[in-house]
């Protein structure tokens, strides 16, 4: 038994902030061009009344509207937000009850199990992994994985606090708000299926990226040692892991004929470096990566699924095509998800 992607939804708030505007709002603007370095031209930011919960609900509603399942048919909902913010401008970070319970109620998923997962930018991957394994085990028949990320408050803190050119809050300048949701169910066959999905945490690097409240201002903050996080050795973790998977289970990257690849949306250079690491290890040219980072920024846990959603909407991911999705997150987390999409494909 395998699972498949049955439906997908996403949400981007209407308000657009350009990288130039964001940099102009810094107390100490850097001497370098952040837009040129990251490739990020603009970012979406929550408007009044919007937060992790409201955006997550919007994405989930789209996924449900495009699904064959009615709300009461859904067996489980897993919310995967890092930011967990409710009550709009109050920015209440909620620890309990879980966001998934609030969503379950608002979406009318009256027969669903619910819980939240939190795993940095790999949150949605963690939710999808749990759901995929539970479907394969026969524990549930289907489920909804959702994440709303109201993460731009860390950019506000960074604008006030960054000093110098190697400040650990520079990564916070790249983030944007969004939500994504997917519904998985049992695969009907090889044309519509999660082919394989493996993920791991290399915990030696768990302290390289820490998100917590600032002690200098009233706001959330993220402190990242970028030089270590994005070192070549870290980038090689995915292809090394993937290569071992082929050795154990058969197959090669060349034989796979992936139509698309999606990397984490840290910036356009990061995506290119990820692809280069793959080409180097597998000895083949990787597919042209799908990106939205130029117009959304790094949307943390929703990034890969937002890219997939936008690519389907743009007609780039067609029915029956095969996509390789590569998580990258604090922890350090990496892995590979191979998926053939027919029902949701363009």
């Amino acid at each position: 038994m395998k699972a498949r992607l049955e439906s997908i939804g996403a949400f981007l708030p209407e308000r657009v902030v350009t990288m130039r505007e964001r940099v102009a709002g810094m107390t100490n603007p850097p001497p370098f061009d952040l837009e040129a370095i990251t490739g990020i031209q603009s970012i979406r930011v929550c408007g009044p009344g919007e937060d992790s919960l409201t955006m997550g609900l919007q994405a989930a509603q789209e996924a449900l509207a495009r699904s064959s399942y009615k709300p009461e048919d859904i067996d489980i909902i897993i919310s995967c937000s890092i930011t967990r913010k409710i009550n709009g401008e109050q920015r209440d970070h909620i620890w309990e009850p879980p966001l998934s319970l609030m969503m379950k109620d608002k979406l009318g998923l009256k027969n669903a199990i619910n819980f939240d997962v939190s795993n940095a930018c790999a949150g949605m991957f963690s939710g999808v992994l749990i759901l995929e394994r539970m479907i394969r085990a026969g524990t549930v028949k289907n489920g909804l994985v959702v994440s709303g990320e109201y993460i731009t408050p860390i950019a506000e803190t960074a604008q006030k606090e960054i000093v110098g050119t190697t400040d650990p809050q520079f990564g916070s300048m790249t983030v944007g708000d969004s939500a994504a949701a997917v519904i998985l169910d049992l695969s009907p066959g090889p044309g519509d299926v999660i082919n394989y999905f493996e993920i791991m945490t290399c915990a030696e690097y768990a302290q390289l990226c820490i998100g917590m409240p600032s002690d200098k201002n009233s706001g959330s903050a993220l402190y990242t040692i970028n030089a270590e996080m994005h070192k070549k050795d870290r980038l090689l973790l995915w292809p090394s892991f993937h290569l071992d998977f082929y050795k154990k289970n058969g197959g090669t990257m060349a034989e796979e004929n992936f139509d698309h690849i999606i990397h984490h949306q840290v910036g356009t250079r990061f995506v290119d470096k990820g692809n280069e690491a793959g080409s180097e290890m597998f000895g083949v040219r990787m597919p042209e990566p799908l990106n939205v980072v130029q117009y959304t920024g790094n949307t943390s846990s929703t990034a890969h699924f937002l890219v997939l959603h936008q690519a389907i909407k743009a007609g780039k991911v067609k029915k029956g095509q095969k996509t390789l999705i590569i998580p990258a997150a604090s922890g350090v987390i990496t892995g590979f998800l191979s998926i053939t999409t027919t029902k949701v494909g363009a």
């Binding site: 920015r91 319970l101 795993n119 992994l129 539970m134 791991m200 768990a206």
Partner: protein, 296 residues
């Protein structure tokens, strides 16, 4: 055929205040008791909610995994083995959700061992009067089962939403000032605990009847929302007094760690014999209830 609880580990928050340190000690104890090495654990699920400094990234599970020495660097190790970790949050019943997740990974997946671990500490790592939970670390180490009469038998999760959820734990990040790493508010409705007891009792009765669990021959490990909660729930369900884990007097409300504390208490009392039936009942804000039936 369900997964098996191989061991438990505990850590007293009276001496170790950090949720991460407490979880690590509990995890180490569980692994040592079962003689399972770090490289043989495939998944770590942290179910603790309240954590050091209100950290939101990375997962607390990753920081715990690091201290437990699991999969520090896949390439450097060169063994081909790996491990994954994540935080699972669902108030006081996350540990029961984690048991169901682990059961799927172990019984039908490739996982060999899963460590469920957690502690709920005030973010300041201090004793704070209005914080309702006592910091205790608890860990369950789970392994594959091969006998359908043993291990996890059934799971049921229910919720009945109240407008105020009965209890809300949060940090108002817009107005927290510069002390956000050391504050959290937990607001509780005056009738939360009686309402939660009533809902838990109703749902547990339905579960016991539907799954043919015999309270007269079983042990009960439940949330410990106050001094009377476990006893009232147990007697409502027909459990005999000595078969109810009463933990509040010694530990207070240890929130997500209550189930590990209760299991350990029965183990110490030599009550967990082969084929002993155990009912876990978790009560949580929402209102939410989780029921799990396990056979030793």
């Amino acid at each position: 055929m369900g997964a098996l609880i191989l061991s438990t580990g505990l850590c007293s928050g009276k001496t170790i205040r950090s949720s991460i340190a407490c979880s690590v000690i509990a995890g180490q104890e569980a692994m040592k008791e079962a003689s399972v090495a770090a490289e043989d654990v495939d998944l770590v699920i942290n179910v603790g909610i309240y954590r050091d400094k209100n950290m939101v990234e990375p997962a607390m599970a990753a920081l715990i995994q690091k201290e437990l020495g699991m999969n520090p660097d896949y390439i450097k190790a060169g063994t081909g083995k790996n491990a994954f970790s994540l935080d699972l949050l669902n108030g006081g019943i996350g540990a029961l959700n984690a048991m169901q997740v682990a059961n799927s990974f172990l019984q039908k997946g490739a996982a060999r061992h899963v460590l469920i671990v957690g502690a709920d500490s005030h973010p300041s790592n201090q004793d704070v009067k209005d914080f309702p939970y006592n910091s205790f670390g608890a860990a369950f180490l789970l392994g594959k089962g091969n006998d359908e009469r043993r291990g996890f038998q059934s799971f049921e999760f229910s919720s009945e939403l109240r407008p105020t959820f009965g209890r809300i734990g949060k940090v108002n990040t817009a107005n927290m000032g510069t002390h956000g790493r050391s504050i959290v508010s937990v607001d509780t409705d005056p009738d939360y605990i009686p309402a939660s007891l009533q809902f838990s009792s109703r749902k547990a009765k339905e579960f016991v009847k539907a799954r043919n669990v015999q309270p007269s021959g079983s042990l009960l490990i439940s949330s410990q929302l106050n001094a009377e909660f476990a006893d009232s729930l147990g007697k409502d369900l027909g459990f005999a007094g000595p078969s109810i884990a009463n933990l509040f007097k010694d530990y207070g409300d240890a929130h997500t760690s209550s189930f590990g504390l209760g299991y350990r208490q029965f183990s110490t009392q030599a009550k967990l014999k082969p084929s002993t039936s155990v009912l876990f009942v978790g009560a949580s804000p929402g209102l939410s209830v989780g029921c799990v039936h396990y056979v030793c």
